[in-house]
């Protein structure tokens, strides 16, 4: 049985990390996610579970500390917010290339540039399309509650190690700062060094006489081999598509209209749907839980049922592009969203549905 707690989203990530048997957290302060490292430093898990917690000199250093630790088969994670995540892109690309598992949390704030410290979902493109250089993807999980902030730590590491790939938890300032009830999982012990050596034969844990040396690298100067490596990565992404898509449907059975929204926008969409139903507007919600892989088939299926789709995002409209690629039929697909840290209200969202989809 888990333990019921009242916590901020950011704290839930930190507590869940300790309980998930995470080996190391490397971070750098930035609003609105600093509570993650603050909570860890206050809890001192290095004295209980043995988890390493270190404040790095920059996000660049933090992600590269994660690289080093992950390369030895340890469960390593970092968290940041948008400007810091931009700095981590180099490391993420290298980790994708070197096939290293890790969890990266982005508690998104408004941009571009230094932008604002208020919530935003404007890092969608960066998260799902690659972000750094080269042909790669991360698995991207989008929590819509404090509970999911906690749950996705374990889920993220499971996926990261299953596919040897970086996993991002794409949250936002709202979910990060919000307090909610959360059931914390039981403690899972950290893997012992022996378990790691047995589980992850690729890890650089020191070369015994009995095996060849292990090398963690993203480099291969031979174009033929580098192409093969890329083909291998693409196969992996295809497998991820086949096995790992997750989404949630809300009041879709009889829906004439569909909201597609993730994270905090999904919560707002649910309220908008209830408001709409009071007025006789039958709308439903498809909430992608994995943004990469994207639930394209589910959208394709629902597109045949509904008259129009509104993508609700705290951005100028990013996910809407993927929705348009998914529908595969001639229905209206529009975007509505506020920017700069302003959060759309349910009434605004419903109004946008009426204006852009029903009336438009």
């Amino acid at each position: 049985m888990g333990e019921l707690k009242l916590m901020k989203g950011n704290e839930a990530i930190a507590e869940a990390a300790i309980r998930a048997g995470v080996d190391a957290y490397f971070g750098y302060p930035i609003t609105p996610q600093s509570e993650v490292i603050e909570y860890l430093m206050a809890e001192k898990p290095y004295e209980t579970t043995g988890m390493v917690v270190l404040q790095a000199e920059s996000e660049v250093a933090a992600i590269n500390m994660v690289y080093g630790a992950a390369g030895t088969g340890k469960k390593a994670m970092t968290s940041s917010s948008s400007p810091g995540i931009s700095l981590k892109q180099e490391g993420i690309s290298y980790m994708a290339g070197a096939e290293l598992p890790c969890v990266i949390v982005n508690v998104v704030r408004g941009g571009p540039g230094l932008g604002t410290i208020q919530p935003s979902q404007a890092d969608y493109f960066q998260a799902v399309k690659g972000g750094g250089h080269g042909d790669y993807h991360m698995i991207v999980l989008a929590p819509a509650s404090v509970q999911e902030m906690a749950d996705f730590v374990t889920k993220g590491f499971d996926l990261a190690f299953k596919y040897r790939t970086p996993v991002m938890i794409l949250s936002d300032g709202l979910i990060g700062q919000m307090m909610e009830k959360v059931i914390m999982p039981e403690h899972t012990p950290r893997w012992t060094d022996e378990e790691i050596i047995e589980k992850w034969p690729w890890a650089t844990t020191g070369k015994p006489g009995s095996r060849e040396r292990n090398i963690i690298t993203s480099l291969d100067l031979d174009s033929g081999r580098q192409e093969q490596h890329n083909i291998h990565l693409q196969k992996k992404y295809k497998e991820i598509h086949e096995n790992e898509i997750e989404f949630e449907e809300f009041m879709c059975d009889d829906a004439d209209y569909l909201f597609v929204a993730y994270g905090s926008s999904a919560r707002i969409a649910q309220k908008a749907i209830k408001l709409g139903r009071e007025k006789g507007i039958k709308a439903g919600l498809l909430r992608p839980i994995t943004l990469y892989p994207f639930p394209a088939e589910a959208i394709h299926r629902l597109a045949k049922q509904v008259k129009g789709i509104l993508s609700l995002e705290l951005s100028a409209g990013q996910m809407v592009e993927d929705i348009r690629l998914s529908v595969g039929c001639d229905i209206k697909v529009e975007h509505f969203g506020r920017m700069g840290g302003i959060i759309h209200s349910p009434a605004e969202a419903l109004q946008a549905l009426e204006d852009k989809i029903i009336g438009g």
Binding site: V52, V60, G68, A98, D193, K207, N214, T217, S218
Partner: protein, 263 residues
């Protein structure tokens, strides 16, 4: 000498020097006469002699030695340009009983990776840093490095390094020696048998420190040549190094057991 005498000498029981098995059989990707090869080899010899190679994780930089993992027969990770000390931090913090070292060039360690270097040193990460300073960006074709000497020509300082425009060479080794987190700092060379032997002793001491004291970073600079970048023959480049590099980057111990011994 007669054939039979030679075959009498060339015999396993008379063997005095042989490439360590901790260097793989891959042909080194370095230019003829480049000090990287020697620096690799003595590092591996030390790990062999200390008997810790099974528990060693090394980190290759970006630079000519990017492929160090092709030559060093221990578990290795390859880092993004300048980030090796951050990787080493991640590894050593998670596996405190393992031996961890980075191997980095001057561009890697003292330009793009300055922050990672200084902060790993300042935190006293219990690792060894082997820093090969050849005063130039070898891999990318001889551009100016943070350690390029005043007046020295490179492809991005074709009229010589003008310190008023390009700044002075960075003595990062002296800089990190000031940090309490750093236990030992030394500057060596590998172009003569005597220097190689000294450098090897220094590297051995650095690894011994890592094993003996559970904290503190041990830093070994090797002033080396880049005959391709300097556009000289290997033998000439070594002479040029003695005449020009050593006065600016004097050899010897800088910090021993936490005490500065030579400024």
């Amino acid at each position: 000498m007669k054939e039979e005498v030679l075959s009498d000498i060339i015999n396993v029981e008379n063997l005095v020097y042989k490439k360590t098995p901790l260097m793989t059989d891959n042909i080194l990707s370095y230019c003829p006469g480049c000090g990287h090869g020697t620096a690799h080899r003595i590092t591996m010899e030390v790990l062999e002699e200390l008997g810790v190679w099974k528990d060693t994780i090394g980190i290759a930089p970006v630079g000519c030695s990017v492929l160090a993992y092709e030559f060093m027969n221990v578990d290795m990770q390859q880092a993004a340009h300048g980030r090796a000390p951050a990787l080493a931090t991640g590894i050593k913090r998670c596996w405190p009983h393992k031996v961890v070292f980075t191997y980095q060039g001057d561009g890697d360690l003292a330009a793009i990776g300055t922050a990672e270097t200084i902060h790993a040193c300042n935190r006293g990460e219990n690792i060894v840093i082997i820093f090969v300073n050849n005063g130039i960006y070898g891999m990318t074709g001889g551009q100016m490095a943070p350690t390029t000497l005043p007046g020295m020509k490179s492809s991005t300082s074709p009229y010589g390094r003008d310190v008023h425009i390009m700044g002075n060479p960075l003595k990062i080794t002296e800089l990190v020696a000031e940090l309490p987190g750093v236990r030992s700092v030394t500057r060596q060379a590998v172009h003569t048998p005597g220097n190689v032997r000294k450098a090897k002793r220094a590297i051995r001491k650095a690894f011994e420190n890592q094993l003996k004291y559970k904290e503190g970073l041990n830093f070994v600079e090797i002033v080396s040549n880049c005959n391709s970048g300097w556009k000289m023959t290997p033998v000439h480049s070594n002479k040029w190094m003695e005449e020009n590099m050593f006065p600016y980057f004097p050899l010897g111990d800088i910090k021993v057991d936490g005490e500065i011994v030579n400024k």
